[in-house]
């Protein structure tokens, strides 16, 4: 792929992401307010559902929950959305050639922008609850970047497999639900029995969420070694995803017909 082409695909990713965000804003009556309202409702739902447990956990419980839920929502929406990216664009890819690898990437950009909006809101809420900005917050972009790598890797892998094995969607959807309860959002992983904790620590999102909490709640640098491990894991998975996407690049279209 030469540089001119590469630039065109990047332009397409950005422009299509912007186009879809604009279209979303135009579609809903309250427009972009929905990007704040939806996560707010989502978090309120959990607060209500786990209400007793959270309030019993003391004053720190709400920030603890939110610093887990916001990164998680970003992860889950992106991976789920990305996984269906090729199918969602089946009409388009029958008419023009588009490298299939950019289709999940467009979803990631869209969700990334929405996440930034919610994150800003989260930071405001935390500041209001007694967790004002600290110098360690400069580590946030790094944590976000690592989560982005993880999201792109898993989302692209799911996107590459789903057209070939549509039943895999069941695994993606239910896997995400399961993973939500195994990521230390509602509890502290370190307080679990050692055997359980060891298994959970294999989940990269556990480390991402811990990193967010380190920075935002404990005013401490995140554990760089764990972030590096997640980043390396993500790059390996992404390399695999790209290999599949390239191999089937001009064959996916045949599976979408009929």
């Amino acid at each position: 792929m030469n540089p001119v082409q590469a630039r065109r695909w990047l332009e397409l990713v950005w422009w299509k992401a912007m186009a879809e965000l604009k279209a979303e804003a135009a579609r809903a009556y309250i427009g972009i307010l929905w990007w704040v309202a939806e996560p707010a409702l989502y978090m309120a739902a959990f607060y209500v559902a786990f209400g007793a447990g959270i309030r019993a956990g003391g004053v720190h419980a709400v920030p603890f929950l939110l610093t887990g839920l916001v990164p998680w929502k970003w992860f889950a929406s992106s991976v789920q959305g990305g996984s269906g990216a090729i199918q969602a664009n089946s009409g388009l890819i029958q008419q023009v050639y588009v490298p299939k690898a950019i289709l999940p990437f467009i979803v990631m950009v869209i969700n990334g922008i929405k996440f930034l909006v919610v994150l800003a809101l989260l930071l405001l809420v935390l500041a209001a609850m007694g967790y004002p900005p600290e110098p360690v917050w400069v580590a946030l972009p790094v944590v976000m970047l690592v989560e982005f790598l993880l999201i792109v890797a898993l989302g692209s892998l799911a996107a590459s497999i789903l057209p070939l094995l549509p039943d895999f969607k069941l695994i993606v959807d239910n896997g995400l639900i399961m993973l939500m309860f195994l990521s230390g959002i509602f509890y502290d992983v370190d307080k679990l029995p050692p055997a359980a904790a060891a298994v959970l620590r294999l989940n990269p999102m556990v480390w991402i969420i811990k990193a967010f909490r380190s920075v935002l709640m404990e005013h401490a640098w995140p554990r760089w070694d764990t972030l590096l491990a997640v980043a390396v894991f993500s790059l390996v998975v992404y390399a695999l995803a790209l290999a599949v996407l390239r191999a089937y690049d001009r064959h996916y279209t045949k599976l979408m017909v009929g």
Binding site: R8, E11, A19, A23, V96, Y97, R250, H251, T253, K254
Partner: protein, 231 residues
């Protein structure tokens, strides 16, 4: 060169459908080739292979430099966005850079005869307006090899005449064109050579008159309508 579609026909079962079985021909720079054949012969599939949208399952397609694109109308259009935004999106999808699209924007709006409507959301457009804009963008895309699937002109009578006229001009220029059409008139008028595809196989490739005479002779008389009853 062959192309196979896999269709799922039950639990764990799928059937293979060979849209193209054995198609071979060469395409020279600057010539206009017509593709003829009965419905379902595989012509659209062939165009998609040439456009790089599908990869062949058998054999190969070799492009010596340049880009081939289908003349695709209204590609990527999002109804909630304005015509202007959709032009940029469609233009990039069809192979232009954003800068190139913006440079041609005025020409596109003029050709589509949309005026101020260009900044209105496309869902407020009539189907004629959408068709005109779709054509105006596609026409500006200008790939090295132009692939046309049946459509020369769109819209109401006046616009169809206009769009077909500019298409003819483009085809007659030194553009390399591959055209799928059922209209014998069009083939005789515009094509230098013809590829006749029958049930996924190239039946004959050669100069227009030669192939069309044979093709016409092979089609049973009662099925042919509106062909002028040539002997």
């Amino acid at each position: 060169m062959g192309v196979c579609y896999t269709r799922r026909s039950g639990l764990m079962r799928s059937s293979k459908f060979w849209a193209l079985h054995d198609v071979s021909f060469d395409l020279m720079h600057g010539e206009t080739i017509g593709i003829v054949g009965h419905n379902g012969a595989g012509k659209s599939t062939l165009l998609r292979v040439l456009a790089g949208i599908l990869a062949p399952d058998l054999g190969q397609m070799v492009m010596h430099g340049g880009r081939a694109s289908l003349l695709s109308l209204q590609v990527g259009f999002i109804p909630y966005l304005s015509g202007r935004d959709n032009v940029v999106l469609s233009g990039i999808l069809l192979g232009l850079t954003r800068r190139q699209v913006l440079a041609r924007m005025d020409d596109i709006i003029d050709f589509a005869e949309l005026g101020d409507f260009i900044d209105e959301p496309m869902r407020s457009y009539s189907s004629g307006m959408k068709a005109r804009l779709g054509f105006a963008v596609a026409f500006q895309a200008d790939p090295d090899v132009l692939l046309i699937d049946e459509v020369l002109g769109v819209g109401d009578a006046a616009f169809r005449a206009k769009s077909a006229a500019v298409m003819r001009e483009k085809i007659n220029s030194d553009k390399t064109v591959v055209m799928v059409t059922h209209s014998e008139e069009t083939v005789l008028e515009l094509c230098d050579r013809v590829v006749w595809i029958d049930h996924g196989v190239t039946r004959k490739v050669g100069p227009t008159r030669e192939v069309m005479d044979e093709y016409r002779a092979s089609v049973p008389a009662p099925v042919r309508r509106g062909q002028g009853g040539r002997p």
